[in-house]
């Protein structure tokens, strides 16, 4: 049995290693791939929170796109005035991210209060209505700029690194570092006492209440934690795409986030990463393949986008029916059975780390 | 969805409806049942002869409910089989077992809370008596047998008292004239007088119709007072199987497994 301190250290080590690997990778990837890496890192921020929410507390939110949007808008609305005030570079990025955190945290808090009180389908329905209302909200609140959205000041490569690092690589670094910042606390929460509490509430609320755990507080907390991470992801996405508009955060995107966490494995941070990679790379692969086949352009238009959605929908169904644990569990079991073969008689399995 | 038309059943060829005349014997042979890895009973064999009332006794967790749920088909045993009147029920679904004359009054408040007493009774009779008038007669017959219910026809399930609910559950199970009746802790949460009344009605009905009854109970005295035989279950095994009077009179047995 590992101690909490050991588990914490394991999480921190894993986080550091993954971050270093990702940053290292940016040197070998081409500029488009770096852009994709940045996007994946941004989405990872959101999926990490969502997988805890759905996997550990059992609440289904279809509106995580709105949380990312809140982060994006928060970033843009803070960074623009900062730019006007002459603040530059990393300081401006940090300022913008703070704005992202605040707005996303606020929205997440409200959603969390609702989520704590509502059972499954009702929360899902409410978040669905929210996602569909987002374009209208962006039009009605003048600061949000309607359908065109809000522009984001361009974050160029800082002078110190100028020439060594390309713009896409710089953005990828920012994205990876922010993702580490956003996801590591979630991983710590998951492997610690809060993670236990979440699972307790999910399994049996009455029993949890009898044990002194407040389900409402745990559920709201899960929402807020996920919202903060998603907000950071939205902020990063704003930096990478230089724009925040409602079209980028529609229902389709929310469903994509759901696909990522279900296929990757509910409740698993590693799964959230796998899922993020999947939902960014698979559509790109499919579109490339379809284009390569060279079909008449009308057919190609019908296929583009739709094939990826079709595949994702089928994956969602298949994984839920066949592999309720998602890819990470299917692989995790395989890996675990390999490692236990070589480990000297360590008996009790850690319930708190994986799964 | 008329239940009267015979339907090809599952693997075993089935009679369309159970004949109400012939009492049936119930048996389980070599039953091994478990939940997610933990076995509750292993290789259990038990005979309930036709027309007899057998009390199934034992402490909480001894396996009484598990056994009853396996007999009615809600649980699938890992091995062994349930035999009704010589027929192996292994491939027969819950609903089809009911159509062969098996009825169960499950543990706890099993009346459908949002339906009225009248609706609950009709529900129980539907598969057997599709014709409305005949069914209404059957429902009236139940009101005669269980007088308190007739005063509460329109009340919803959740508006009834504990005793009334148990009475309704029993009436609902009896209305289809089953051949074998399983009862799971009918006395739970009821006052002694109500329990006595309930069990007396049960015994009278059973004697009159030749009903075979398997009665799982923690209330040992009451159960043994209406039963012909008693079977004591301890940790998933049969530790005693004897005429009811003998068990009631055996102090060692009572101490060891029945707690008094």
């Amino acid at each position: 049995m590992t101690t909490p301190a050991q588990r914490r250290r394991a999480v921190l080590v894993r986080s550091a290693v993954c971050t270093l690997l990702a940053v290292g990778a940016t040197f070998v990837l081409d500029s488009y791939a770096n852009y994709q890496l940045a996007t994946i890192a941004a989405i990872f921020c959101a999926t990490a929170g969502l997988t805890l929410l759905v996997g550990l507390t059992g609440q289904l939110s279809l509106g995580h796109a709105v949380l990312m949007a809140a982060g994006g808008y928060g970033y843009a609305l803070t960074a623009a005035p900062l730019a006007d005030a002459g603040v530059e570079g990393v300081l401006r990025i940090l300022g913008g991210l703070l704005g992202a955190l605040l707005l996303a945290g606020a929205v997440g808090g409200l959603l969390g209060l609702a989520g704590a009180r509502l059972r499954g389908p009702y929360l899902a329905g409410l978040t669905l209505a929210l996602v569909i209302a987002l374009p209208a909200i962006s039009t009605q609140v003048p600061a949000l700029g309607g359908a065109q959205g809000v522009g984001v000041p361009f974050e160029g490569v800082p002078d110190a690194l100028g020439g060594v690092v390309s713009i896409e690589q710089w953005h990828a670094w920012v994205a990876v570092l922010v993702a580490a910042l956003a996801v590591t606390p979630l991983a710590l929460v998951r492997s610690g006492r809060s993670g236990l509490r979440m699972r307790a509430v999910h399994d049996d609320e009455t029993a949890a209440r009898l044990a002194g755990i407040s389900p409402a507080r745990v559920k709201t907390g899960a929402f807020v934690a996920g919202a903060l991470a998603a907000g950071l992801g939205g902020g990063v996405l704003a930096v990478v795409t230089q724009n925040v508009s409602p079209g980028a955060y529609d229902l389709a995107f929310s469903l994509l986030l759901l696909v990522a966490v279900v296929v990757g494995g509910l409740g698993s941070i590693g799964g959230a990463a796998v899922g993020a990679v999947l939902v960014v790379l698979l559509p790109w692969l499919i579109d490339t393949a379809v284009a390569a086949v060279g079909l008449p352009s009308e057919l190609e238009q019908r296929l583009s986008g739709n094939v990826a959605v079709l595949v994702f929908g089928a994956l969602l169904i298949a994984v839920t029916v066949v592999w309720p644990g998602g890819l990470s569990h299917a692989l995790g079991d395989r890996i675990r059975s390999l490692t236990t073969r070589f480990r000297p008689s360590r008996t009790v399995p850690q319930q708190l780390t994986e799964r | 969805m008329s239940p009267a038309t015979p339907r090809p059943a599952t693997a075993a060829a089935a009679p369309a409806e159970a004949s109400t005349a012939a009492p049936a014997a119930l048996g389980v042979e070599g039953l091994t049942v478990g939940y997610a890895g933990a076995p509750v009973m292993a290789d259990l064999t038990l005979e309930v002869p036709a027309g007899q009332i057998v009390a199934l006794l034992g402490a909480n967790g001894a396996g009484k409910t598990t056994l009853l749920r396996t007999v009615s088909g809600l649980l699938t045993p890992r091995s062994g089989r349930v035999v009704l009147d010589g027929e192996d029920l292994s491939a027969v679904s819950v609903e089809d077992r009911v159509r062969r004359g098996l009825a169960q009054v499950p543990e706890g408040r099993s009346v459908v809370a949002e339906l009225s007493v009248e609706e609950n009774l009709h529900l129980g009779a539907l598969w057997k008596i599709p014709a409305r008038r005949a069914r209404r007669d059957a429902v009236e017959a139940m009101y005669d047998a269980f007088e308190p219910l007739s005063r509460r026809r329109r009340s919803l399930g959740h508006q009834l008292s504990g005793g009334e609910r148990q009475m309704l559950s029993l009436a609902r199970a009896l209305i289809a004239e089953p051949r074998v009746l399983l009862l799971d802790e009918p006395s739970l949460g009821l006052a002694p007088r109500v329990v006595a009344q309930l069990l007396d009605t049960l015994r009278d009905t059973a004697r009159r119709t030749g009903l075979t009854v398997l009665l799982a109970e923690q209330n040992v005295t009451s159960a043994l007072s209406v039963a012909d035989r008693g079977v004591v279950l301890g940790l998933g095994e049969i530790v005693a199987d004897a005429p009811a009077a003998d068990i009631a009179a055996d102090p060692a047995l009572r101490h060891a497994y029945l707690g008094f």
């Binding site: 569909i132 039009t139 409402a216 469903l255 169904i317 | 009346v111 529900l123």
Partner: protein
């Protein structure tokens, strides 16, 4: 004053279609105790079939029948071959599978038929009658009203007056107990799905002539509106769905008329939030816990 009368009439007409779809949600709740998030997508598939039939036979009525039949078939197929495979201990897997189904169906329709909206002609005139110079309902609106009332009446009769309805309700309320009483619960659940999908298809079919046309996403907004209605009226109550539908329809119409179309989704969201948090039981709900 004229404006309000017109908006009310439009709202009523719009609300009836929403009510009809909400009724389909009530049916499936009463039969299977779930909210089917794939309801709209399934209905759209059935309406595409109806579309094809109408195009072939030039008859709206044959198309209507086709929509009902196709809807029932889709409901049967989804329940029998998909939903039964899903672990049902918690509602979560069911919802996720429904969402996956939506993605598959909508993408499939998009691939097969493309993104364009296919217009459909209404069987009756959509020009409103005028009463004292004020435009009120059109013949088509009256038709929709009759259909909605007919469906509500039919459902009330089915669920409360027939033994089949009794079995369906019992199967949803207490599946285990019902099985122990000889009720063929799985069959009742399938029936509920078929009925629900047929009514949903009818609703979408009636919606299409009033909109741009039919395409893969025709049902999305309708689902959100109908969900709001079902929540408002109580998932258990057909009357609640009818009244709630009219209320929501009128609300949307008034908001659109006085504040602009852009505000309508926000108004719906606000209403949904309000009902869920303040009166969780819905206005006509029989008995149902939606809070933790």
């Amino acid at each position: 004053m004229d404006r309000i009368a017109f908006l009310l009439a439009t709202g009523l007409a719009r609300g009836l279609v929403i009510a009809l779809f909400a009724l389909s949600l009530v049916i499936i709740w009463r039969a299977a105790r779930i909210v089917n998030f794939a309801q709209a997508a399934m209905a759209v598939v059935a309406v595409f079939v109806a579309f094809a039939v109408t195009a072939l036979t030039d008859s709206f009525w044959l198309g209507l029948v086709a929509a009902l039949v196709a809807g029932a078939v889709v409901g049967y197929a989804v329940e029998r071959w998909l939903i039964r495979l899903v672990p049902a201990r918690t509602p979560l897997p069911g919802m996720i599978v429904a969402i996956g189904l939506v993605m598959v169906l909508q993408a499939g329709i998009g691939i097969a038929f493309g993104p364009q909206h296919r217009p459909m002609a209404a069987p009756f005139s959509e020009q409103p009658f005028t009463v004292g110079g004020v435009p009120v309902l059109s013949p088509y609106d009256l038709f929709v009203l009759l259909v909605a009332l007919g469906v509500v009446g039919g459902l009330a009769l089915l669920f409360n007056g027939t033994t089949l309805g009794l079995q369906m309700r019992a199967s949803a309320m207490a599946p285990e107990v019902s099985r122990l009483l000889g009720v063929r619960v799985p069959r009742m659940v399938t029936l509920g799905w078929m009925l629900s999908a047929a009514v949903a298809s009818l609703a979408v079919l009636l919606l299409v002539p009033t909109e741009l046309g039919l395409n893969a996403h025709s049902g999305d907004v309708l689902f959100v509106h109908a969900f709001t209605v079902a929540v408002l009226g109580g998932l258990d109550s057909p009357v609640g769905a009818l009244v709630g539908g009219i209320v929501v329809g009128v609300l949307i119409s008034l908001v659109t008329g006085f504040l602009g179309a852009g505000l309508a989704p926000i108004a719906v969201l606000a209403l949904l939030t309000l009902v869920l948090l303040v009166r969780p039981g819905g206005i006509f709900a029989v008995k149902e816990a939606r809070t933790a």
